[in-house]
Amino acid sequence: MPDFTEDATPTGRISREDVAHLARLARLAVTDDELQLFASQLDVILGSVARVGEVAAADVPPTSHAVPLVNVYRADEVRPSLPRAAVLAGAPSVEDEKFRVPRILSEEA
């Protein structure tokens, strides 16, 4: 278990502005205090990941999956959908059998 505390000094890998930007993209309300807190915590996490990168030798390729599988497909066959009542039961609001959502800005006119 590595000692994370030794990396606790901020290294500037991630700034308050970065956190604010990410929070905005994720639609999260984050206070000023939290911005500072998360910036330093994320900095530690990034530092730890960077150390893993140092350990990984050239013969260890980057991967996005834990299991060495490729080409897992399904045949193009229709299977039953959920009953509509069940689908709409999870909607905050329903009108005309559709999900009713707040007015939205769109790229489509």
Partner: protein, 497 residues
């Protein structure tokens, strides 16, 4: 003052690019077994996977992957030996998952090209990438006066479309085509549509949204770097593709002429006015935070399988056209005319169905082209098949229908979607060759129009047209006009010769 594209290219060089989205014709969705049927009741084709419910595990549709690779092969692309899906993260209610499963830096197909012919010139349009993703749900905006988003109070979402396999085909920028840019854009989408149709991977219906196009346009002064481009969305017909490029060229030239600068922005094409309007400008740069999709394993198409797909590709439209030219034996001018009208394949198919070349050509360049024009669509989009046209030609040749009646039959086929013989039977379309009936109709017309009859008797033969019209009307267009005219003149005692 009316500026033209020629005025624009006297001062500027255009660069165009196209992004085309194609809904694949699979029976089930991209990552789940929900049906892709068009027009079903709202939210009846959804499940845990396409709604993005917690714990749902997507599995890719094998037929969609095969279709995408076949599209890539038909567009002369290299097929990736290993690639992944990626999450494109954004918050918008058209995707219930809050991300779209797409491909980012590892598309299935890359680096291809498509040759298109415009004005006797072959233009090679580079293909940057062909990738596979999923379609979004459909929003209806409610409460706005115009039904458009601005002023809408809320939106209603139907997720039947969410998760339908969608292929995105992106061209490289196309410089150097000058005043032909609008036509090149249209010719590219037309050729692409024909290829997709030939491959049988999509029904490619622009009006239903199964083929959608975004058009990028920029202008630069000769010798200078490429200009800032705009992206025009909402381009939903082949004609609109051409109009959108032309409209953007004219608009940008005016901006640049006035010393202004073109903004990099999304614009919307307005079908009615034929021009583009700015869309919403983004508050911050787009940041989709793509990352490899952890719920789907990588794709590694077996090269042997890819080669077998290549070997099994059908004859593509360009090759078929070349063969058709030779087979039809039409001259260059005729061919160019048919090509410009987009009816070469239709004429060929009509000939294949048994019609003589000349008749097939006349129908597709004549009445059918007029109907397509009047509707603002391509002749190929008319709901009539080459086989049906061949049948009409056969009926005219046999004397069962006059040309006028055959046209009525075309109208009937388009209106009802029924086959030619059904329309002919239901509407009682048949040339009246019973001379007794025609003579009776002629006598009625003469009796009803004594003044006209008198003029004709007095030598004003042209006046007989009114009587012919009356007979045609009373026989509901089913008589042969020349025969009617002859009968009328005979009964009026006028000898034309």
């Amino acid at each position: 003052m009316t500026a033209t594209v020629d005025d624009v290219v006297a001062r500027y060089e255009p660069v165009i690019g196209l992004e085309t989205h194609v809904e694949l014709g699979t029976v089930s969705k991209m990552f789940c077994g929900c049906s892709t049927e068009f027009g079903a009741d709202p939210n009846t084709h959804t499940c845990a996977v396409c709604l993005g419910l917690p714990g749902a595990l997507p599995v890719a549709n094998a037929a969609a992957i095969e279709a995408t690779i076949r599209i890539g092969l038909a567009l002369n692309c290299s097929i990736a030996q290993w690639c992944r899906f990626a999450r494109k993260n954004y918050f918008y209610p058209d995707m219930p998952k809050n991300f779209q499963t797409s491909q980012y830096d590892e598309p299935l197909c890359v680096e291809g090209y498509l040759n298109v012919e415009v004005d006797g010139r072959t233009v090679r349009v580079g293909i940057e990438r062909v990738h596979l993703e999923e379609d979004t749900g459909k929003n209806t905006h409610v409460g706005g006066a115009t039904g458009r988003i601005h002023g809408a109070d809320y939106s209603l979402v139907d997720y039947n479309r969410a998760g339908i396999p969608l292929v995105e085909i992106v061209t490289k920028p196309v410089p150097g085509v000058g005043a032909l840019a609008p036509e090149v854009a249209r010719a590219y989408v037309t050729e692409l549509r024909d290829i997709l149709r030939t491959l049988g991977v999509s029904d490619v219906r622009m009006e239903q949204g199964s083929l959608r196009c975004d058009v990028n346009t920029s202008l630069n002064r000769p010798g200078e770097a490429w200009g800032t481009r705009t992206e025009t969305k909402n381009v939903n017909s082949l004609r609109s593709v051409e109009r959108a490029v032309r409209s953007e060229m004219l608009r940008q030239a005016e901006v640049l002429d006035g010393g202004g600068r073109v903004l990099q922005e999304t614009r919307h094409f307005n079908e009615t006015s034929g021009d583009t309007r700015p869309g919403r400008s983004k508050e911050e740069a787009t940041d989709y935070r793509y990352f490899p999709e952890p719920d789907l394993v990588p794709m590694a198409p077996d090269p042997t399988w890819v080669e077998s797909l290549r070997a099994d590709l059908p004859e593509l439209p360009a090759a078929r056209r070349a063969r058709t030219r030779a087979a039809l034996g039409v001259d260059e001018a005729d061919l160019a005319q048919m090509s410009n009208a987009g009816v070469v394949d239709l004429v060929a198919a009509t000939v294949d169905a048994g019609a003589p070349v000349g008749e097939a050509r006349n129908w597709w360049l004549g009445y059918l082209a007029q109907l397509a024009n009047a509707r603002g669509i391509e002749a190929a989009e008319l709901e009539i098949t080459p086989g049906q046209v061949a049948r009409l030609i056969e009926l005219v040749a046999a004397g069962t229908l006059s040309t006028a009646l055959a046209r009525q039959a075309v109208d009937g086929v388009l209106e009802t979607g029924s086959d030619v013989d059904v329309v002919v039977a239901e509407r009682g379309l048949k040339v009246v060759s019973d001379t007794g009936a025609l003579a009776a109709a002629a006598d009625e017309a003469i009796a009803a129009n004594p003044e006209v009859a008198e003029k004709v008797r007095g030598g004003k033969i042209a006046a007989v047209g009114a009587l012919v019209g009356a007979v045609m009307k009373s026989t509901r267009g089913q008589a042969d006009a020349a025969a009617v005219r002859a009968i009328l003149l005979e009964r009026l005692g006028v000898d034309e010769s």
